[in-house]
Protein backbone atom coordinates (compact mmCIF):
# COMPACT_ATOMS: atom_id res chain seq x y z
CA UNK A 1 0.00 0.00 0.00
CA UNK A 2 2.90 2.29 0.86
CA UNK A 3 4.37 1.31 -2.47
CA UNK A 4 1.13 2.17 -4.29
CA UNK A 5 1.09 5.68 -2.86
CA UNK A 6 4.81 6.11 -3.51
CA UNK A 7 4.53 5.07 -7.12
CA UNK A 8 1.51 7.31 -7.67
CA UNK A 9 3.44 10.21 -6.16
CA UNK A 10 6.40 9.57 -8.44
CA UNK A 11 4.19 9.37 -11.53
CA UNK A 12 2.36 12.54 -10.51
CA UNK A 13 5.67 14.36 -10.19
CA UNK A 14 6.47 13.59 -13.79
CA UNK A 15 3.04 14.74 -14.96
CA UNK A 16 4.07 18.33 -14.38
CA UNK A 17 7.12 19.94 -15.95
CA UNK A 18 8.53 20.59 -12.47
CA UNK A 19 10.22 17.22 -12.09
CA UNK A 20 11.69 17.35 -15.58
CA UNK A 21 13.00 20.87 -15.19
CA UNK A 22 14.50 20.06 -11.81
CA UNK A 23 16.32 17.06 -13.26
CA UNK A 24 17.53 19.13 -16.17
CA UNK A 25 18.74 22.08 -14.12
CA UNK A 26 20.49 19.96 -11.52
CA UNK A 27 22.17 17.91 -14.20
CA UNK A 28 23.26 20.93 -16.19
CA UNK A 29 24.80 22.77 -13.26
CA UNK A 30 26.54 19.71 -11.85
CA UNK A 31 27.84 18.73 -15.28
CA UNK A 32 29.38 22.18 -15.60
CA UNK A 33 31.04 21.87 -12.19
CA UNK A 34 32.12 18.33 -13.02
CA UNK A 35 33.80 19.42 -16.23
CA UNK A 36 35.46 22.29 -14.41
CA UNK A 37 36.99 19.87 -11.92
CA UNK A 38 38.20 17.57 -14.69
CA UNK A 39 39.90 20.49 -16.39
CA UNK A 40 41.55 21.37 -13.09
CA UNK A 41 42.75 17.83 -12.70
CA UNK A 42 44.18 17.80 -16.21
CA UNK A 43 46.02 21.06 -15.59
CA UNK A 44 47.70 19.86 -12.42
CA UNK A 45 48.09 16.24 -13.43
CA UNK A 46 51.88 16.46 -13.95
CA UNK A 47 52.45 17.96 -10.48
CA UNK A 48 50.11 15.44 -8.88
CA UNK A 49 51.93 12.58 -10.58
CA UNK A 50 55.18 13.84 -9.14
CA UNK A 51 53.86 13.70 -5.58
CA UNK A 52 54.46 10.64 -3.52
CA UNK A 53 50.95 10.02 -2.34
CA UNK A 54 49.11 12.77 -4.14
CA UNK A 55 45.34 12.79 -4.48
CA UNK A 56 43.87 10.72 -7.29
CA UNK A 57 41.24 11.78 -9.77
CA UNK A 58 38.40 10.61 -7.52
CA UNK A 59 39.63 12.69 -4.62
CA UNK A 60 39.96 15.79 -6.78
CA UNK A 61 36.58 15.53 -8.41
CA UNK A 62 34.16 13.77 -6.11
CA UNK A 63 34.15 15.67 -2.78
CA UNK A 64 33.83 18.96 -4.60
CA UNK A 65 31.12 17.70 -6.95
CA UNK A 66 29.02 16.13 -4.23
CA UNK A 67 29.57 19.04 -1.87
CA UNK A 68 28.08 21.34 -4.48
CA UNK A 69 25.37 18.80 -5.30
CA UNK A 70 24.31 18.81 -1.65
CA UNK A 71 23.97 22.59 -1.61
CA UNK A 72 22.10 22.60 -4.90
CA UNK A 73 19.72 19.90 -3.71
CA UNK A 74 19.18 21.77 -0.47
CA UNK A 75 17.55 24.39 -2.67
CA UNK A 76 15.73 21.92 -4.85
CA UNK A 77 14.30 19.32 -2.46
CA UNK A 78 11.93 21.78 -0.76
CA UNK A 79 10.43 22.44 -4.19
CA UNK A 80 9.75 18.75 -4.58
CA UNK A 81 8.37 18.12 -1.13
CA UNK A 82 6.25 21.25 -0.87
CA UNK A 83 3.30 19.77 -2.73
CA UNK A 84 3.25 16.42 -0.93
CA UNK A 85 0.62 17.16 1.68
CA UNK A 86 0.01 20.89 1.24
CA UNK A 87 -1.47 20.46 -2.19
CA UNK A 88 -3.62 17.54 -1.13
CA UNK A 89 -4.96 19.66 1.65
CA UNK A 90 -5.51 22.64 -0.61
CA UNK A 91 -7.33 20.61 -3.26
CA UNK A 92 -9.20 18.72 -0.56
CA UNK A 93 -8.06 15.40 -1.90
CA UNK A 94 -6.82 14.29 1.51
CA UNK A 95 -10.25 12.87 2.27
CA UNK A 96 -9.65 10.27 -0.41
CA UNK A 97 -6.71 8.95 1.60
CA UNK A 98 -8.43 9.46 4.95
CA UNK A 99 -11.54 7.51 4.02
CA UNK A 100 -9.57 4.70 2.40
CA UNK A 101 -8.54 1.85 4.70
CA UNK A 102 -5.07 3.31 5.30
CA UNK A 103 -3.28 4.31 8.45
CA UNK A 104 -1.64 7.71 8.76
CA UNK A 105 1.71 5.93 8.87
CA UNK A 106 1.07 4.34 5.51
CA UNK A 107 0.10 7.66 3.97
CA UNK A 108 3.23 9.43 5.24
CA UNK A 109 5.58 6.57 4.39
CA UNK A 110 4.00 6.32 0.94
CA UNK A 111 4.58 10.00 0.28
CA UNK A 112 8.14 9.76 1.60
CA UNK A 113 8.83 6.77 -0.57
CA UNK A 114 7.57 8.63 -3.63
CA UNK A 115 10.08 11.42 -3.06
CA UNK A 116 12.84 8.91 -2.35
CA UNK A 117 12.16 7.28 -5.72
CA UNK A 118 12.62 10.62 -7.40
CA UNK A 119 15.75 11.47 -5.44
CA UNK A 120 17.13 8.08 -6.39
CA UNK A 121 16.78 9.08 -10.03
CA UNK A 122 18.65 12.32 -9.27
CA UNK A 123 21.33 10.32 -7.48
CA UNK A 124 21.76 7.90 -10.37
CA UNK A 125 22.03 10.75 -12.85
CA UNK A 126 24.71 12.44 -10.75
CA UNK A 127 26.46 9.12 -10.26
CA UNK A 128 26.69 8.53 -13.97
CA UNK A 129 29.04 11.49 -14.35
CA UNK A 130 31.97 10.21 -12.25
CA UNK A 131 31.24 6.67 -13.36
CA UNK A 132 31.75 7.75 -16.97
CA UNK A 133 35.39 8.35 -16.08
CA UNK A 134 35.77 4.60 -15.69
CA UNK A 135 36.08 4.50 -19.46
CA UNK A 136 39.53 6.06 -19.32
CA UNK A 137 40.68 6.10 -15.70
CA UNK A 138 40.54 4.00 -12.58
CA UNK A 139 38.44 5.35 -9.75
CA UNK A 140 38.55 4.92 -6.01
CA UNK A 141 35.31 2.94 -5.81
CA UNK A 142 35.33 2.90 -2.01
CA UNK A 143 35.31 6.69 -1.86
CA UNK A 144 32.65 6.77 -4.55
CA UNK A 145 30.42 4.40 -2.59
CA UNK A 146 30.82 6.22 0.71
CA UNK A 147 30.21 9.61 -0.93
CA UNK A 148 27.00 8.48 -2.59
CA UNK A 149 25.82 6.74 0.55
CA UNK A 150 26.36 10.03 2.35
CA UNK A 151 24.46 11.97 -0.31
CA UNK A 152 21.63 9.43 -0.21
CA UNK A 153 21.28 9.74 3.55
CA UNK A 154 21.46 13.51 3.32
CA UNK A 155 18.73 13.61 0.67
CA UNK A 156 16.59 11.33 2.84
CA UNK A 157 16.94 13.84 5.67
CA UNK A 158 16.07 16.72 3.34
CA UNK A 159 12.98 14.88 2.15
CA UNK A 160 11.80 14.04 5.68
CA UNK A 161 12.13 17.66 6.82
CA UNK A 162 10.38 18.87 3.66
CA UNK A 163 7.56 16.35 4.11
CA UNK A 164 6.99 17.49 7.66
CA UNK A 165 6.87 21.14 6.64
CA UNK A 166 4.36 20.21 3.96
CA UNK A 167 2.04 18.62 6.51
CA UNK A 168 1.94 21.87 8.46
CA UNK A 169 0.30 24.08 5.90
CA UNK A 170 -2.00 24.14 2.92
CA UNK A 171 0.17 26.53 0.93
CA UNK A 172 2.91 24.76 -1.03
CA UNK A 173 5.04 27.89 -1.17
CA UNK A 174 4.93 28.28 2.61
CA UNK A 175 5.99 24.64 2.90
CA UNK A 176 8.86 25.24 0.48
CA UNK A 177 10.12 28.35 2.24
CA UNK A 178 9.93 26.85 5.70
CA UNK A 179 11.61 23.61 4.73
CA UNK A 180 14.31 25.55 2.95
CA UNK A 181 14.79 27.66 6.06
CA UNK A 182 14.89 24.64 8.35
CA UNK A 183 17.37 22.82 6.14
CA UNK A 184 19.62 25.80 5.80
CA UNK A 185 19.55 26.27 9.55
CA UNK A 186 20.50 22.65 10.07
CA UNK A 187 23.28 23.14 7.57
CA UNK A 188 24.85 26.24 9.14
CA UNK A 189 24.27 25.37 12.79
CA UNK A 190 28.00 24.95 13.38
CA UNK A 191 28.91 28.39 12.05
CA UNK A 192 27.66 30.30 15.05
CA UNK A 193 29.09 28.32 17.91
CA UNK A 194 32.63 28.01 16.66
CA UNK A 195 35.16 28.74 19.33
CA UNK A 196 32.60 29.21 22.06
CA UNK A 197 31.99 26.85 24.92
CA UNK A 198 28.47 25.81 24.02
CA UNK A 199 29.23 25.51 20.33
CA UNK A 200 30.11 21.87 20.34
CA UNK A 201 26.67 20.37 20.58
CA UNK A 202 25.35 22.83 18.00
CA UNK A 203 28.09 21.75 15.66
CA UNK A 204 27.17 18.18 16.39
CA UNK A 205 23.60 18.80 15.24
CA UNK A 206 24.74 20.33 11.96
CA UNK A 207 23.79 18.35 8.87
CA UNK A 208 26.98 19.41 7.15
CA UNK A 209 29.24 17.92 9.79
CA UNK A 210 27.57 14.57 9.29
CA UNK A 211 27.93 14.72 5.55
CA UNK A 212 31.55 15.81 5.17
CA UNK A 213 33.12 12.61 6.56
CA UNK A 214 31.35 10.56 3.89
CA UNK A 215 32.95 12.70 1.20
CA UNK A 216 36.37 12.04 2.72
CA UNK A 217 35.72 8.35 2.52
CA UNK A 218 35.16 7.95 6.24
CA UNK A 219 32.13 5.90 7.08
CA UNK A 220 31.25 6.60 10.69
CA UNK A 221 28.17 4.70 11.80
CA UNK A 222 27.40 7.63 14.08
CA UNK A 223 26.88 9.85 11.04
CA UNK A 224 24.58 7.32 9.43
CA UNK A 225 22.60 6.98 12.65
CA UNK A 226 22.32 10.75 12.85
CA UNK A 227 20.64 10.86 9.46
CA UNK A 228 18.40 7.91 10.19
CA UNK A 229 17.34 9.48 13.49
CA UNK A 230 16.60 12.76 11.77
CA UNK A 231 14.50 11.00 9.14
CA UNK A 232 12.60 8.98 11.74
CA UNK A 233 11.95 12.00 13.91
CA UNK A 234 10.46 14.06 11.12
CA UNK A 235 8.41 11.17 9.77
CA UNK A 236 6.94 10.53 13.21
CA UNK A 237 6.21 14.23 13.59
CA UNK A 238 4.47 14.21 10.20
CA UNK A 239 2.33 11.25 11.18
CA UNK A 240 1.31 13.00 14.36
CA UNK A 241 0.56 16.18 12.51
CA UNK A 242 -1.67 14.34 10.07
CA UNK A 243 -3.45 12.60 12.90
CA UNK A 244 -4.05 15.95 14.55
CA UNK A 245 -5.79 17.01 11.35
CA UNK A 246 -8.61 14.64 12.15
CA UNK A 247 -8.82 15.86 15.73
CA UNK A 248 -8.73 19.58 15.08
CA UNK A 249 -10.80 21.29 12.50
Amino acid sequence: MIFTIGLRELKSLFLSPLAWSILAVVQLILAYLFLGRIELFQTYQPQLMAMDSGPGVTEIILPDLLGNAAILLLLVVPLLTMRLMAEERRNRTLSLLFSAPLSMTEIILGKFLGILFFLLIVLVLIGLMPLSLLAGASLDLGLLASSFLGLALLLGSFAAVGLFMSTLTQYPTVAAISSFGALLLFWILDWSGQGMGGGNWLAYLSLFNHYKPFLEGVFDSGDAVYHLLLITTFLVLSIHRLDADRMGG
Binding site: L96, A100, M247
Partner: protein, 325 residues
Protein backbone atom coordinates in the same frame (compact mmCIF):
# COMPACT_ATOMS: atom_id res chain seq x y z
CA UNK B 1 -25.92 -6.59 17.11
CA UNK B 2 -28.20 -7.11 14.17
CA UNK B 3 -26.31 -8.10 11.05
CA UNK B 4 -28.31 -5.90 8.80
CA UNK B 5 -27.36 -2.74 10.69
CA UNK B 6 -24.58 -1.21 8.61
CA UNK B 7 -24.00 2.05 10.41
CA UNK B 8 -24.66 2.50 14.08
CA UNK B 9 -24.08 6.03 15.30
CA UNK B 10 -24.39 6.59 19.02
CA UNK B 11 -24.47 9.90 20.89
CA UNK B 12 -22.16 11.59 18.44
CA UNK B 13 -20.89 15.03 19.40
CA UNK B 14 -18.32 17.27 17.83
CA UNK B 15 -16.93 20.57 19.02
CA UNK B 16 -15.05 23.14 16.99
CA UNK B 17 -13.55 25.10 19.82
CA UNK B 18 -16.52 26.29 21.81
CA UNK B 19 -18.96 25.72 18.98
CA UNK B 20 -20.79 22.42 19.17
CA UNK B 21 -21.44 21.47 15.57
CA UNK B 22 -23.05 18.11 16.29
CA UNK B 23 -25.02 17.48 19.45
CA UNK B 24 -25.67 13.98 20.69
CA UNK B 25 -26.79 12.50 17.37
CA UNK B 26 -27.75 8.82 17.19
CA UNK B 27 -29.13 6.82 14.30
CA UNK B 28 -28.73 3.57 12.40
CA UNK B 29 -28.78 2.53 8.78
CA UNK B 30 -29.65 -0.92 7.56
CA UNK B 31 -28.76 -2.68 4.38
CA UNK B 32 -31.03 -1.63 1.56
CA UNK B 33 -31.83 1.71 3.05
CA UNK B 34 -31.29 5.16 1.59
CA UNK B 35 -31.06 7.76 4.31
CA UNK B 36 -31.65 11.36 3.38
CA UNK B 37 -29.86 13.85 5.52
CA UNK B 38 -31.45 17.26 5.41
CA UNK B 39 -30.59 20.50 7.08
CA UNK B 40 -29.92 24.16 6.44
CA UNK B 41 -26.39 25.35 5.78
CA UNK B 42 -24.15 24.97 8.78
CA UNK B 43 -26.49 22.54 10.51
CA UNK B 44 -23.82 19.88 10.91
CA UNK B 45 -24.60 17.60 7.96
CA UNK B 46 -21.12 17.64 6.55
CA UNK B 47 -19.49 17.34 9.95
CA UNK B 48 -21.56 14.26 10.72
CA UNK B 49 -20.66 12.71 7.39
CA UNK B 50 -16.99 13.50 7.85
CA UNK B 51 -17.08 11.75 11.19
CA UNK B 52 -18.81 8.67 9.81
CA UNK B 53 -16.30 8.48 6.98
CA UNK B 54 -13.35 8.72 9.35
CA UNK B 55 -12.15 12.13 8.17
CA UNK B 56 -12.84 13.77 11.48
CA UNK B 57 -12.62 12.41 14.99
CA UNK B 58 -15.76 12.82 17.10
CA UNK B 59 -15.48 14.66 20.42
CA UNK B 60 -17.76 12.09 22.00
CA UNK B 61 -19.82 9.13 20.93
CA UNK B 62 -19.14 6.13 18.76
CA UNK B 63 -19.59 5.03 15.17
CA UNK B 64 -19.70 1.38 14.15
CA UNK B 65 -19.58 0.45 10.48
CA UNK B 66 -20.82 -3.07 9.78
CA UNK B 67 -19.89 -4.03 13.32
CA UNK B 68 -16.40 -2.49 13.27
CA UNK B 69 -15.82 0.44 15.58
CA UNK B 70 -14.44 3.34 13.57
CA UNK B 71 -12.08 4.50 16.31
CA UNK B 72 -10.84 1.16 17.53
CA UNK B 73 -10.56 -0.67 14.24
CA UNK B 74 -10.41 2.09 11.63
CA UNK B 75 -8.99 0.00 8.84
CA UNK B 76 -11.72 -2.63 8.92
CA UNK B 77 -14.39 0.03 9.32
CA UNK B 78 -13.05 2.24 6.54
CA UNK B 79 -12.87 -0.64 4.09
CA UNK B 80 -16.66 -0.79 4.36
CA UNK B 81 -17.20 2.83 3.31
CA UNK B 82 -17.24 4.77 0.12
CA UNK B 83 -17.27 8.52 0.67
CA UNK B 84 -17.92 11.39 -1.68
CA UNK B 85 -17.17 14.65 0.13
CA UNK B 86 -18.81 17.92 -0.75
CA UNK B 87 -15.91 18.70 -3.02
CA UNK B 88 -14.93 15.53 -4.88
CA UNK B 89 -11.33 14.54 -4.02
CA UNK B 90 -10.04 14.46 -7.58
CA UNK B 91 -6.48 14.63 -8.86
CA UNK B 92 -6.97 16.96 -11.76
CA UNK B 93 -3.87 15.93 -13.66
CA UNK B 94 -4.78 12.24 -13.85
CA UNK B 95 -7.01 10.61 -16.41
CA UNK B 96 -10.26 9.07 -15.21
CA UNK B 97 -8.85 5.57 -15.65
CA UNK B 98 -5.63 6.31 -13.79
CA UNK B 99 -7.54 7.92 -10.98
CA UNK B 100 -10.02 5.09 -10.57
CA UNK B 101 -7.21 2.53 -10.69
CA UNK B 102 -5.48 4.40 -7.89
CA UNK B 103 -8.69 4.49 -5.84
CA UNK B 104 -9.19 0.77 -6.37
CA UNK B 105 -5.63 0.13 -5.19
CA UNK B 106 -6.04 2.39 -2.16
CA UNK B 107 -9.11 0.41 -1.19
CA UNK B 108 -7.05 -2.76 -1.36
CA UNK B 109 -8.86 -4.39 -4.23
CA UNK B 110 -6.83 -7.35 -5.45
CA UNK B 111 -4.91 -6.53 -8.62
CA UNK B 112 -6.91 -9.00 -10.71
CA UNK B 113 -10.23 -7.37 -9.84
CA UNK B 114 -9.20 -3.78 -10.41
CA UNK B 115 -9.95 -3.60 -14.12
CA UNK B 116 -13.39 -5.09 -13.82
CA UNK B 117 -14.18 -2.91 -10.80
CA UNK B 118 -13.09 0.16 -12.71
CA UNK B 119 -15.16 -0.75 -15.75
CA UNK B 120 -18.20 -1.42 -13.63
CA UNK B 121 -17.91 1.85 -11.72
CA UNK B 122 -17.47 3.72 -14.99
CA UNK B 123 -20.48 2.07 -16.52
CA UNK B 124 -22.68 2.74 -13.53
CA UNK B 125 -21.73 6.41 -13.50
CA UNK B 126 -21.87 6.90 -17.26
CA UNK B 127 -18.14 7.49 -17.64
CA UNK B 128 -17.37 4.85 -20.23
CA UNK B 129 -16.50 7.37 -22.92
CA UNK B 130 -14.22 9.63 -20.91
CA UNK B 131 -11.82 7.07 -19.41
CA UNK B 132 -8.79 8.50 -21.17
CA UNK B 133 -9.53 12.16 -20.56
CA UNK B 134 -7.90 14.29 -17.91
CA UNK B 135 -10.14 14.88 -14.92
CA UNK B 136 -9.20 18.56 -14.88
CA UNK B 137 -10.63 18.98 -18.39
CA UNK B 138 -13.98 17.38 -17.61
CA UNK B 139 -17.11 19.41 -16.92
CA UNK B 140 -18.34 19.82 -13.38
CA UNK B 141 -21.05 17.20 -13.88
CA UNK B 142 -18.59 14.62 -15.11
CA UNK B 143 -16.20 15.41 -12.29
CA UNK B 144 -19.05 14.82 -9.88
CA UNK B 145 -19.66 11.45 -11.51
CA UNK B 146 -16.01 10.54 -11.20
CA UNK B 147 -16.38 11.39 -7.52
CA UNK B 148 -19.30 9.01 -7.21
CA UNK B 149 -17.46 6.32 -9.17
CA UNK B 150 -14.59 6.67 -6.72
CA UNK B 151 -16.95 6.10 -3.81
CA UNK B 152 -18.49 2.91 -5.20
CA UNK B 153 -15.54 1.31 -6.97
CA UNK B 154 -14.86 -1.16 -4.18
CA UNK B 155 -18.57 -1.93 -3.73
CA UNK B 156 -18.63 -0.84 -0.11
CA UNK B 157 -21.65 -1.79 2.01
CA UNK B 158 -21.99 1.84 3.07
CA UNK B 159 -21.93 4.70 0.59
CA UNK B 160 -21.83 8.25 1.94
CA UNK B 161 -22.64 10.97 -0.55
CA UNK B 162 -22.41 14.62 0.43
CA UNK B 163 -24.57 16.63 -1.94
CA UNK B 164 -23.99 14.38 -4.94
CA UNK B 165 -26.20 16.24 -7.42
CA UNK B 166 -24.69 19.70 -7.01
CA UNK B 167 -23.75 21.20 -10.33
CA UNK B 168 -25.46 18.62 -12.48
CA UNK B 169 -27.95 19.27 -15.25
CA UNK B 170 -31.52 17.95 -14.83
CA UNK B 171 -30.89 14.87 -16.94
CA UNK B 172 -27.77 14.00 -14.99
CA UNK B 173 -29.64 14.57 -11.75
CA UNK B 174 -32.23 12.03 -12.82
CA UNK B 175 -29.50 9.57 -13.71
CA UNK B 176 -27.70 10.07 -10.43
CA UNK B 177 -30.93 9.64 -8.49
CA UNK B 178 -31.61 6.43 -10.35
CA UNK B 179 -28.08 5.33 -9.53
CA UNK B 180 -28.58 6.13 -5.85
CA UNK B 181 -31.82 4.16 -5.76
CA UNK B 182 -30.04 1.27 -7.40
CA UNK B 183 -27.21 1.49 -4.88
CA UNK B 184 -29.82 1.52 -2.14
CA UNK B 185 -30.94 -1.97 -3.12
CA UNK B 186 -27.88 -3.73 -1.82
CA UNK B 187 -25.91 -1.04 -0.01
CA UNK B 188 -26.72 1.36 2.77
CA UNK B 189 -26.62 4.89 1.43
CA UNK B 190 -26.40 8.16 3.33
CA UNK B 191 -27.25 11.11 1.19
CA UNK B 192 -26.99 14.70 2.28
CA UNK B 193 -28.72 17.38 0.32
CA UNK B 194 -30.74 20.50 0.64
CA UNK B 195 -32.78 19.74 -2.43
CA UNK B 196 -35.99 18.50 -0.87
CA UNK B 197 -37.64 16.73 -3.82
CA UNK B 198 -34.45 14.72 -4.10
CA UNK B 199 -35.12 13.21 -0.73
CA UNK B 200 -38.66 12.33 -1.63
CA UNK B 201 -37.49 10.87 -4.91
CA UNK B 202 -34.68 8.73 -3.60
CA UNK B 203 -34.80 8.08 0.12
CA UNK B 204 -36.47 5.53 2.36
CA UNK B 205 -35.66 7.40 5.48
CA UNK B 206 -35.34 11.09 6.27
CA UNK B 207 -33.42 12.86 8.96
CA UNK B 208 -33.51 16.57 9.49
CA UNK B 209 -30.67 18.10 11.42
CA UNK B 210 -30.71 21.64 12.72
CA UNK B 211 -28.02 23.38 14.74
CA UNK B 212 -26.36 20.05 15.34
CA UNK B 213 -29.43 18.29 16.64
CA UNK B 214 -31.58 15.69 14.98
CA UNK B 215 -35.05 17.17 14.86
CA UNK B 216 -36.69 14.50 12.73
CA UNK B 217 -35.87 10.86 12.12
CA UNK B 218 -38.63 9.23 10.12
CA UNK B 219 -39.21 6.74 7.39
CA UNK B 220 -40.68 8.17 4.20
CA UNK B 221 -44.01 6.55 5.10
CA UNK B 222 -43.88 8.09 8.54
CA UNK B 223 -43.16 11.40 6.92
CA UNK B 224 -46.25 11.02 4.75
CA UNK B 225 -48.19 10.77 7.99
CA UNK B 226 -46.53 13.93 9.21
CA UNK B 227 -47.40 15.64 6.00
CA UNK B 228 -51.09 14.83 6.27
CA UNK B 229 -51.93 17.72 8.44
CA UNK B 230 -55.11 18.28 10.34
CA UNK B 231 -56.76 20.43 7.70
CA UNK B 232 -59.18 20.26 4.82
CA UNK B 233 -59.36 22.14 1.59
CA UNK B 234 -62.91 22.76 0.43
CA UNK B 235 -64.48 24.77 -2.38
CA UNK B 236 -68.13 25.77 -2.80
CA UNK B 237 -70.02 27.24 -5.72
CA UNK B 238 -72.18 29.18 -3.27
CA UNK B 239 -69.88 29.80 -0.30
CA UNK B 240 -71.66 30.05 3.02
CA UNK B 241 -70.73 32.69 5.57
CA UNK B 242 -67.65 31.58 7.41
CA UNK B 243 -69.27 31.60 10.83
CA UNK B 244 -71.57 28.77 9.71
CA UNK B 245 -68.46 26.60 9.33
CA UNK B 246 -66.58 27.88 12.31
CA UNK B 247 -69.21 26.63 14.73
CA UNK B 248 -68.81 23.02 13.54
CA UNK B 249 -67.29 20.69 16.11
CA UNK B 250 -63.55 20.33 15.85
CA UNK B 251 -62.99 23.33 13.57
CA UNK B 252 -60.25 25.58 14.91
CA UNK B 253 -59.88 28.20 12.24
CA UNK B 254 -60.62 28.94 8.62
CA UNK B 255 -58.52 30.66 6.04
CA UNK B 256 -59.71 31.89 2.65
CA UNK B 257 -57.63 31.14 -0.40
CA UNK B 258 -57.99 32.28 -3.98
CA UNK B 259 -60.77 30.93 -6.26
CA UNK B 260 -63.16 30.58 -3.36
CA UNK B 261 -61.23 27.76 -1.72
CA UNK B 262 -61.20 27.52 2.03
CA UNK B 263 -58.72 25.90 4.33
CA UNK B 264 -60.32 24.50 7.41
CA UNK B 265 -58.02 23.61 10.28
CA UNK B 266 -59.47 21.11 12.68
CA UNK B 267 -58.46 19.15 15.72
CA UNK B 268 -56.64 16.02 14.74
CA UNK B 269 -59.07 13.50 16.16
CA UNK B 270 -62.28 15.34 15.19
CA UNK B 271 -62.54 15.54 11.46
CA UNK B 272 -65.49 17.71 10.38
CA UNK B 273 -65.69 16.25 6.86
CA UNK B 274 -68.99 14.46 7.51
CA UNK B 275 -70.61 17.55 8.97
CA UNK B 276 -69.49 19.71 6.07
CA UNK B 277 -70.80 17.23 3.51
CA UNK B 278 -74.14 16.95 5.26
CA UNK B 279 -74.55 20.71 5.60
CA UNK B 280 -73.45 21.34 2.04
CA UNK B 281 -76.15 19.03 0.72
CA UNK B 282 -78.82 20.38 3.06
CA UNK B 283 -78.10 24.04 2.43
CA UNK B 284 -77.21 23.64 -1.25
CA UNK B 285 -73.75 25.29 -0.99
CA UNK B 286 -72.65 23.57 -4.18
CA UNK B 287 -69.61 21.72 -2.79
CA UNK B 288 -67.39 20.71 -5.69
CA UNK B 289 -64.07 20.01 -3.99
CA UNK B 290 -63.03 18.59 -0.66
CA UNK B 291 -59.76 16.93 0.20
CA UNK B 292 -57.42 16.52 3.12
CA UNK B 293 -54.68 19.10 3.29
CA UNK B 294 -51.07 18.02 2.96
CA UNK B 295 -47.81 19.60 3.86
CA UNK B 296 -44.91 19.54 1.53
CA UNK B 297 -41.61 18.27 2.83
CA UNK B 298 -40.46 21.82 2.43
CA UNK B 299 -42.95 23.00 5.02
CA UNK B 300 -42.04 20.24 7.42
CA UNK B 301 -38.44 21.22 6.90
CA UNK B 302 -39.06 24.91 7.44
CA UNK B 303 -41.13 24.30 10.52
CA UNK B 304 -38.55 22.03 12.04
CA UNK B 305 -35.61 24.22 11.31
CA UNK B 306 -37.09 27.64 12.03
CA UNK B 307 -36.78 27.07 15.75
CA UNK B 308 -35.63 23.80 17.19
CA UNK B 309 -39.19 22.96 18.15
CA UNK B 310 -39.21 19.44 19.43
CA UNK B 311 -42.96 19.16 19.43
CA UNK B 312 -43.24 18.46 15.74
CA UNK B 313 -46.94 17.68 15.77
CA UNK B 314 -47.85 21.13 17.01
CA UNK B 315 -45.69 23.02 14.60
CA UNK B 316 -46.93 21.00 11.68
CA UNK B 317 -50.61 21.54 12.40
CA UNK B 318 -49.94 25.23 12.48
CA UNK B 319 -48.44 25.21 9.02
CA UNK B 320 -50.36 26.22 5.97
CA UNK B 321 -51.57 23.28 3.94
CA UNK B 322 -50.94 23.22 0.24
CA UNK B 323 -52.43 21.12 -2.58
CA UNK B 324 -51.19 17.53 -2.79
CA UNK B 325 -47.92 16.98 -4.55
Amino acid sequence: MNDSILVDVKNLSRFYGALQAVKDVSFTIRRGEVLGFLGPNGAGKTTTMQIISGNLAPSAGSVAIAGHDLLEDPRAAKSQIGYLPEQPPLYRDLTVDEYLDYCAALNRLPRTQRNSARDMAKERCGLSDVGRRLIGNLSKGFQQRVGIAQAIIHLPPVVILDEPTVGLDPIQIREIRALIRELGKDHGVILSTHILPEVQATCDHVQIINKGELVLNESIQGLEQHMKSASLTVAFRHPPPLDKLEILTGVKSIQTEKEGRLHIFHEIDRNPTDDILRLAVEKNWGLYEIRPGRLSLEQVFLELTRDSATDTADSITAATPIPPL
